[in-house]
């Protein structure tokens, strides 16, 4: 099946932890083995992880893909194997267990799920806006687009500990703009203020890709409407199944009304939506993953 031009594949596999490191206080990055098909994953797609066997935690946890790649196992004559990475913040039981996993521990994975970002026109300026672990899909997107389009990334956080991936983006040669609420890194204030400064300047054709907390996404969507710039957001939602069956993670689509419901599953029709597809009052229901 093809949606938005992306090929859909369904993979369910056992995965082994390769590394699981703290990248900033409270934030971690885990690298997990995967079948070759993971290399087909698109920026914006996500995975559902079952972090241990048994019924506690009961449900899988969704995480955006941060990167995919191959590695050489450290035994003789091994062929290259594939991995994917996710960024996560330790917030509850599922992520605490994930944080406690060591090399060779295993997890159960559904991947890749949902639809990725539509990369848009080549050569057009791509503005990436993210907060916290919302940077994860944006970094993956930047890796794919950096050869083809000029990219700027706007990173926000409460404090400097919440600002992730600056070095990684800089290593790709991407201009980064940072804002923190308390001014401990970059400019003091909201990342959307920095974005608006940029949007208000006349410039080349551009589009915006955003992932982060709900208020940030609302502000970005509103701004893009004002400047008439195409905007895609990656939404986060509590999910049970991840495959479009439970209807637990819906957002209201643009034509929604009580009589003619237009609910979209974040898991299956998202998590990336063009903001024009969503009903304004809800255009960022849930925060980004």
């Amino acid at each position: 099946m093809t949606l938005n031009g992306w090929t859909k594949i369904n993979m369910h596999f056992k995965s082994v932890v390769l590394t699981n490191i703290e990248i900033s206080p409270g934030y971690r990055r885990v690298r997990l083995t995967a079948p070759r098909g993971i290399l087909e994953a698109k920026p914006g797609q996500f995975v559902m992880l079952r972090v241990r066997d048994g019924v506690d935690p009961l449900l899988r946890r969704p995480f955006c893909i941060y990167d995919v790649g191959t590695f050489s196992p450290d035994y003789p004559d091994a062929s290259r194997r594939c991995y994917f990475e996710i960024l996560y913040k330790v917030v509850g039981k599922g992520t605490s267990i994930l944080a406690s996993l060591h090399e060779k521990d295993s997890v159960d994975v559904l991947a890749p799920l949902g639809n990725g970002f539509n990369p848009g026109e080549e050569g057009e300026e791509k503005l990436l806006v993210g907060g916290g672990f919302g940077l994860a899909p944006l970094y993956f997107l930047a890796r794919r687009l950096v050869e083809k389009s000029p990219i700027k990334v706007f990173i926000g956080g409460r404090r400097k500990e919440d600002v992730l991936c600056v070095t990684e983006f800089e290593q790709l040669g991407i201009d980064t703009y940072v804002a923190t609420d308390d001014g401990t890194l970059g400019s003091r204030g909201l990342v959307t203020e920095v974005l608006e400064e940029h949007l208000s300047m006349e410039g080349m054709s551009r589009s915006v890709f955003a992932c982060g907390p709900e208020p940030m996404l609302r502000a970005v969507a509103g701004m893009c409407e004002k400047y008439r710039i195409n905007c895609q957001v990656s939404l986060e939602a509590t999910m049970a199944c991840g495959v479009g069956a439970c209807l637990g993670c819906v957002v209201k689509g643009a034509s929604h009304s009580e009589d003619s419901p237009d609910y979209r599953c974040v898991c299956k029709e998202g998590p990336v939506f063009d903001t024009s597809q969503l009903l304004c009052e809800d255009q960022a229901e849930g925060a980004a993953s």
């Binding site: 859909k8 369904n10 369910h12 079952r50 019924v55 506690d56 935690p57 009961l58 449900l59 899988r60 159960d108 559904l110 939602a237 509590t238 999910m239 049970a240 199944c241 495959v243 479009g244 069956a245 439970c246 209807l247 637990g248 993670c249 819906v250 957002v251 929604h256 009580e258 003619s260 419901p261 609910y263 299956k268 229901e285 849930g286």
Partner: protein, 305 residues
């Protein structure tokens, strides 16, 4: 030992094994086709269907709780017209029987829907939802009053020649009374239990964790309640029973059969892992083989008390 016989007959519907999927946890089946072999389970029960599309409840709709989850989806569904047009073609591509769960706002609506579904050849049977706890008219009115349940089941019985299953709510004082009313009204089978009404609170915000305030509890946490109710109903009613409630393993499923169930439905476990129902069916076969049980039907009601 020879392969054990896992087939059961459920009110005229032949199931290759007793494992069905519970309504609302398996979409319309196609969502799971990429993750499992739909030909390996006994039957698919589809998401609760109404005459007209329904929007469902505001978000948040689900929250995980100890050993289970609460949901208040609010019966969001595409409505019968879109169901027939968009969902039934897929059913023709599989041989596994499809049973349609449905609900209405009135006895007349139940009967009208049953009549529409009667004309759909891809539908092997219907499951009357008189037990959704999350909407005002989602059937719970009919599911807690034996007289109302009787009228709905009788109206549906009169509107369709297909096998009729009545899905019972546990949110009653005496489930046996409800079961007897449905049986007398002409149901061919009873499925139980639907979710148990529950609540979860965010202490810091002092707010309910789901927008509907209350929701339906499912998952392993409800299994002992469900087993007890299946056992009670089995002793009182002669109809085949479908056991539902927190089934995650083949052991869980077989315990329901020992308590009196002819078949079972796997619900929340489909969310835990999308091939849960297939895995349970395979593990059940292995259990029977290892324990020298030739026919799964020997398990039904075999509780020693």
């Amino acid at each position: 030992m020879k392969k054990p016989d896992l087939s059961v007959n459920l009110a005229g519907i032949s199931l290759r094994n007793p494992i069905m999927t519970a309504s609302g946890t398996f979409g319309y089946g196609e969502e799971f086709a990429g993750y499992m072999d739909l030909e390996k389970i006994g039957a698919i029960v589809t998401k609760g269907l109404s005459l007209r599309p329904r929007a469902g409840n505001p978000m948040p709709r689900i929250v995980e709780t100890a050993g289970g989850m609460l949901n208040a989806i609010g019966l969001q569904n595409v409505g019968i017209d879109a169901f027939i047009e968009n969902k039934t073609p897929f059913f023709r591509s599989i041989s596994t029987p499809v049973i349609v769960n449905f609900f209405g706002n009135s006895v007349e609506e139940y009967a009208k829907l049953a009549a529409r579904l009667d004309a759909v050849p891809e539908v092997s049977g219907v499951e009357i939802n008189i037990s959704c706890p999350n909407v005002k008219h989602g059937g719970i009115v009919f599911g807690t009053d034996p007289k109302a349940a009787f009228s709905v089941v009788r109206a549906v019985r009169g509107a369709t020649g297909k096998p009729v299953i009545a899905k019972l709510s546990p949110n009653v004082t005496d489930i046996v009374e409800m079961a007897l009313a449905c049986a007398e009204a002409g149901a061919d089978s009873l499925s139980l239990i639907n979710t148990i009404t529950g609540m979860a609170i965010d202490l810091q915000k002092r707010r309910p964790r789901i927008s509907n305030v209350t929701g339906g509890l499912s998952g392993p946490a409800v299994k002992p309640v469900a087993l007890r109710m299946v056992w009670q109903v089995y002793q009182a009613v002669k109809l085949p029973i479908i056991g539902i409630g927190g089934i995650v393993t083949a052991t869980d499923a077989l315990e329901f059969m020992v308590a009196g169930a002819t078949a079972v439905q796997v619900g929340t476990a489909n969310f835990m892992t999308p091939d849960a129902s297939q895995r349970i069916a395979e593990d059940m076969e292995r259990y029977l083989k290892e324990n020298g049980v030739r026919d799964v039907k020997e398990m039904i009601g075999s509780l020693r008390v």
